[in-house]
Symmetry: C2
Amino acid sequence: MSVSLVRKLVVTTREQLRTQISSARKQGKSIALVPTMGALHEGHLSLVRAAQRQCDLVVVTIFVNPTQFGPGEDFDRYPRTFEADVTLLQREGVDLIFAPNRDEMYSAQHQTHVEVEELTNSLEGAVRPGHFRGVTTIVLKLLNLAQPDVAIFGQKDFQQAAVIQRMVRDLDVPVQISVQPTVRETDGLAMSSRNRYLSGDERNRALGLSRALRAARQAVANGERSADALTAVMRQSLAQSGIEKIDYAVICEPETLQPIEMLVQPAVALIAAHVGATRLIDNEILDPAVKETSKNTTAGAARQGT
Amino acid sequence: MSVSLVRKLVVTTREQLRTQISSARKQGKSIALVPTMGALHEGHLSLVRAAQRQCDLVVVTIFVNPTQFGPGEDFDRYPRTFEADVTLLQREGVDLIFAPNRDEMYSAQHQTHVEVEELTNSLEGAVRPGHFRGVTTIVLKLLNLAQPDVAIFGQKDFQQAAVIQRMVRDLDVPVQISVQPTVRETDGLAMSSRNRYLSGDERNRALGLSRALRAARQAVANGERSADALTAVMRQSLAQSGIEKIDYAVICEPETLQPIEMLVQPAVALIAAHVGATRLIDNEILDPAVKETSKNTTAGAARQGT
């Protein structure tokens, strides 16, 4: 990888980004945006590949956004692997990486935020006050800067994707939001930059989240329709995996994220739980129309995504 | 004015607007947006003319935005003069009028808003809680729909223009904000849709606002630099005009709207006061570099704007 290639690939100022975007637009290229906080893994690369399938030019942003971390959260120790990230993205044939610093994105006078209300009151929003305000504000800034046709997000952060879709609809942002399937390790663990925090033993226990979701899917395939019963299945499975500190384990309507009572339409099962000092989230769509499933479905669906 | 012409000129859905904007873009036209709440007067028309000087295609929006009115405010009785507005705009050669209804702009699921913080705590923001949140949210929606190169606002709503400029900078919205001088009646009264509320006697007393601002300008020209002294000049002038209920009469730094103590750089004098049941606002730039002024400057500058 030559230095000159890296120089062309990575821009750090909004002005450089705008110039490159404007030049691509003049060439009639369609643009896809993949916002990330770096510490890239196979999940992010699957978003990049989805972007490449949908548009001519792919812009990946790398910015650990301080405003979406709460006071006690892991902003300082969040993994930063910039050089490895650039190498991975270059190997994927990404066209442009936007990696601004904090001052470039938030001036000293910055005082504007975007807030999605109802959708952010529950789940992650309840546990992490201010988190989604930080997410929606930075995502809208990135959308305004890159002006993409499509922006790609992972289903792994299910509520985040729902909140961003709501923001885009409510504010008439001219972009299509594309949500891509969660990518999993072969044993089912949802890929996450925070998996790096896990010790060997914790890594084993962390499997409990995908295992609980798989148990819920199996129960649905066996005919269970009660959300209470499915929640009990998930909680029992989590306990069996040695996961005791559960922030939530719920079945919700996928667009509004309101809890449901009976599974009539496809719903989403969402779990947030702590494994040691690490907080993990995962989710699965539960479709009452699916009659049969194998024990390996979650991991199998994951491999399709990679 | 033929019906077919009106049909082409006025669109009411976002989809129709997007189609027309997209078509104009394909023709390489630059676009200016003039957001209004209708009840158009010469002040609005001066914004339209400024838009025409700056861009190829001028889009005027007419929407009495409910979310920027507080519970006790005049949303229900705000003047609505749609047919006259369309006639005026057609006469000016406006290309496109976007006049959506409430449901078109706010779905039942709408739950997103944009908030500019510090700038909206004082002046209008202090007296009208929630007002600027409504303004910034609807303006961002209109900017996203029309995607203009330039959006035009009047200096009459000085704080509104400052708040929108702050929002555009903070969120990296790709638009230039152009602020145009206040247009005044020949006797100095700042044009406002709310002037229609005034009785004959109130119309006379309403002159007190521009008279007070003119008195402050004259004091500056005579060498006064103390903000306290200039505020006293304005308050005394307002009292002499029979205006007793003053929400504020202050001298502020024009970008941050923080009160100043001494006039060193250009500042803005802002007044909000009640005349009968009608609340009026007005403002003037005070420039310490201007040594002389005539008693008619305010009205004189106004005529240039028309």
